[in-house]
Each structure stands twice: as structure tokens, then as C-alpha cells.
């Protein structure tokens, strides 16, 4: 996942989890065992450790902070309910993420009509892209188009891009969470990007990569 040595191209930073909770690690401190023995402090520690990635997933899918918090609570209440069945030899994060995505899609489907894109979230994200006002406007429009495109993706593809491009999980980790194999995960990402690319109008595509165009002097 690290940029190759000597490559002149700018590497897209993919695969580095920014939550500090890698998926594949075991739980050496026996947190799950302590929860299973009825230790509520351990459950609080468990919650604090995993709340952020779970909440992020819920928020990225639902785009509603209140609904995301509700799903976060549901997810951990369920974890407590089935604590005796949680595996102690692997991280519970894939399981939590799986429960979270399932809860999200059951809720979003139920209240699909009421879920509206929050454009307020979009407005503050592109100010650092470039100092040119016309490019800022262009980027905002692109981001807005992409937001709508993400919302329109099928749930499995949406989950794939959230796990891979937002959380930065590896293909194997994303596949484990989504309960599919790596090839299927690659395929979902491929079709998701293809669909998103098709959402961008031609002129937007051109302006989208105007500032990130690869030039021949960047190549080795």
C-alpha cells in the first residue's frame, strides 16, 4: 500500500485505516472475555474503542447524524445481547461493521423518502482544493454530483466504497466485513467507480482532473 519508490506519479492514499482500529488484530487484553463475564466497564471500553468506525459507517451510509447514532446504539446493544457468542480470538470489528451496514440498509430502505442529501456537509469540503474561485465552484459541483451518485449506488457497492475508500480497509478486510471474497469486492468497487464516472458529465470530467492531470514529467 505504500507508494512505490521512484514512481513519479502521485499515489492515491488508499488502504491506511485512519481510525487506529485494524480489522484483523486479535484482542490480547481479553476485552470480550471480560464483557462475557458481565463486566460493564469492559463493555464501556469496548464501546469507546469501536464506536468511531461504526458511527462513521452509519453516517456515511445514512447521512443523518441522528439516525447514525441510533444505529450505533442498536449495534452495541446487539453486541451486548449476543456477547456470549462473540469470538474472542478475532477482532469484533468486522462483525460490528457488518451489523451496522445491515441495520443501515434496513433503516434507509424504510425511510428512503425522508433521506435527503445534506448539501451543507458538502459546502465546506472543497475550500482547500484550490485557490481559484472558478475551480472551487467546479469542485463543489463535482462533489455534489458524486454525493448523488453514491446515494444512487446499490447497497453492496455503496458499502464497498465506504469500507475501501473511506475507512481505508484493505481489499481482504473489506471483503471479510462484506462477507464476500476479494474478487467480488474488486468487482463491486469496479462497478461502483464505473457508475460514478458515468454520473459525471463530460465537461465536469475534464475539469475534475484538470488540476490532477498526469504530466509526462511526473512519470519516471
Amino acid at each position: 500500500m505504500n507508494p512505490p519508490e521512484g514512481a513519479g506519479v502521485v499515489w492515491v492514499p488508499i488502504g491506511a485505516s485512519d481510525h487506529g482500529v485494524p480489522v484483523g488484530t486479535t484482542q490480547p487484553d481479553g476485552l470480550v472475555e471480560r464483557i462475557q463475564s458481565g463486566d460493564l466497564d469492559a463493555f464501556e471500553e469496548f464501546f469507546n474503542r469501536y464506536k468511531r468506525p461504526v458511527y462513521t459507517t452509519a453516517l456515511a451510509i445514512t447521512r443523518d447524524p441522528f439516525l447514525a447514532e441510533e444505529i450505533l446504539q442498536d449495534c452495541f446493544v446487539k453486541a451486548y445481547r449476543v456477547r456470549d457468542r462473540l469470538r474472542t480470538d478475532v477482532s469484533p470489528l468486522p462483525w460490528l461493521q457488518r451489523v451496522c451496514t445491515n441495520l443501515c440498509y434496513s433503516r434507509v430502505t424504510r425511510r428512503k423518502a425522508s433521506v435527503e442529501p445534506l448539501t451543507a456537509l458538502i459546502t465546506n469540503l472543497v475550500t482547500d482544493l484550490t485557490s481559484r474561485p472558478d475551480q472551487v465552484v467546479e469542485s463543489r459541483e463535482i462533489i455534489e454530483v458524486l454525493q448523488r451518485g453514491i446515494d444512487a449506488l446499490p447497497p453492496k457497492q455503496q458499502t464497498a466504497i465506504i469500507l475501501y475508500y473511506l475507512h481505508g480497509y484493505s481489499l481482504a478486510e473489506s471483503a471479510e466485513i462484506a462477507e464476500c471474497n476479494v474478487g467480488t469486492m474488486k468487482s463491486r468497487l469496479h462497478y461502483a467507480l464505473k457508475a460514478l464516472r458515468a454520473q459525471l458529465p463530460i465537461e465536469r470530467r475534464a475539469s475534475a482532473h484538470a488540476d490532477s492531470r498526469l504530466t509526462s514529467h511526473e512519470l519516471p
Binding site: 456515511a60 462533489i143 490532477s212
Partner: protein, 187 residues
């Protein structure tokens, strides 16, 4: 190397963050000479960058509330309590057939025993057959009357005859005098 192949393979590597190695040298050489492929690969890279920005925008500045764990704890414990009650009920429900069977058996035993010997009330009624009332002066129930008729004790044995014969005439009650023995004397 064709543009199509270069684009496809390089785009896939960019898309999945795979490292470029010595096998990528021909692709990069082609890219250096081909503006169309550079455009195509650059577009893909831009799309991924914009996608990541769009995804981060969805979660920007949002965190779970500080009260979230408290809510989770309350709900989890309440649910556990509910589950405990449900499991208790389930356990009771599982025992119900056995309880019902035991009750039926008990009823059958009592019924059989009741057929063989009188209950206390019935015994008391038998002891005083002439009294067709219970001790509390309530009239007997039809069941008690029926039982009394069935289990009516036998009539008392009459005392031995001592010169007094019972009257053959049913209209005369009490004792009748025996006929005098013949003595051959005329009155």
C-alpha cells in the same frame, strides 16, 4: 502495447492502490508518450480523489454524542432483564405439560379413591342416615342424596321372639298377642 490495455491495467493498479513494480515499466513508458492514456488514467485518479473527498464530507465534524454509551447501557440492561423474564416464562411454559399431567393423575387417583370409600361428609351422612341434612343445616346436594341412597346401611336386625309375634296384619302396628294353647276345657 495498446492504449486500452495500458489504461485498464494501470487504472486497476491505481484504483486498488497496488504497487507499481518492474512489470509496470512498459505501461509507464507508454503513458509518457500517449496523451490520451495520461488523460484517461488521470481522470481515474481524479475520480478516486474526489470520491474520497465526497465520502469524508459525509462524516465531517460529526461524532457520536457523549451520552451514547449511557443510552446503550440502559437499553442493554433493560433488554437483558426482559430476556430474563421471557426465559423464565418460557421455562414455566415448558413445565406446563408436565404439571397438567400431574394434575390429571392426581385427579384420577382422588376419583378412584372416592369411588371406594366415602369422603368425610359422606361418612357422616351414613352415620346418621335418618338425618338428611348436613351439620350446617344446609340441604344435601343431589350428589350427596344419590350417594346416600347407594350406600344406605342395611336395616337393623329385629330382636329375637319372646312370645310376642309380629302382627301379620300390616294395619296393626306394634306387638300382637299369641293365640292361647288348647287345654280341652270349654269356656
Amino acid at each position: 502495447m495498446s492504449c486500452r490495455r495500458v489504461s485498464r491495467e494501470l487504472i486497476e493498479r491505481f484504483r486498488f492502490g497496488e504497487e507499481l513494480d518492474s512489470r509496470s515499466a512498459p505501461h509507464l513508458a507508454h503513458l509518457a508518450d500517449c496523451a490520451t492514456c495520461r488523460e484517461e488514467v488521470g481522470l481515474e485518479r481524479s475520480l478516486v480523489l474526489q470520491l474520497q473527498r465526497a465520502l469524508r464530507a459525509r462524516i465531517a465534524g460529526q461524532d457520536p454524542s457523549p451520552r451514547a454509551f449511557n443510552a446503550v447501557r440502559i437499553r442493554a440492561l433493560a433488554e437483558e432483564e426482559q430476556v430474563t423474564w421471557r426465559s423464565r416464562l418460557f421455562r414455566i411454559a415448558r413445565l406446563m405439560p408436565a404439571g397438567a399431567a400431574m394434575a390429571l393423575m392426581l385427579a384420577a387417583v382422588v376419583n378412584v379413591a372416592g369411588d371406594r370409600q366415602p369422603t368425610l361428609l359422606q361418612a357422616r351422612t351414613v352415620a346418621w342416615p335418618g338425618v338428611m341434612e348436613r351439620a350446617d343445616n344446609d340441604p344435601l346436594t343431589p350428589h350427596e342424596v344419590a350417594w346416600w341412597l347407594v350406600y344406605q346401611p342395611p336395616p337393623p336386625i329385629p330382636p329375637p321372639a319372646t312370645g310376642v309375634m309380629p302382627s301379620a296384619d300390616p294395619s296393626t302396628r306394634g306387638l300382637a298377642t299369641l293365640p292361647k294353647p288348647a287345654t280341652g276345657l270349654t269356656e
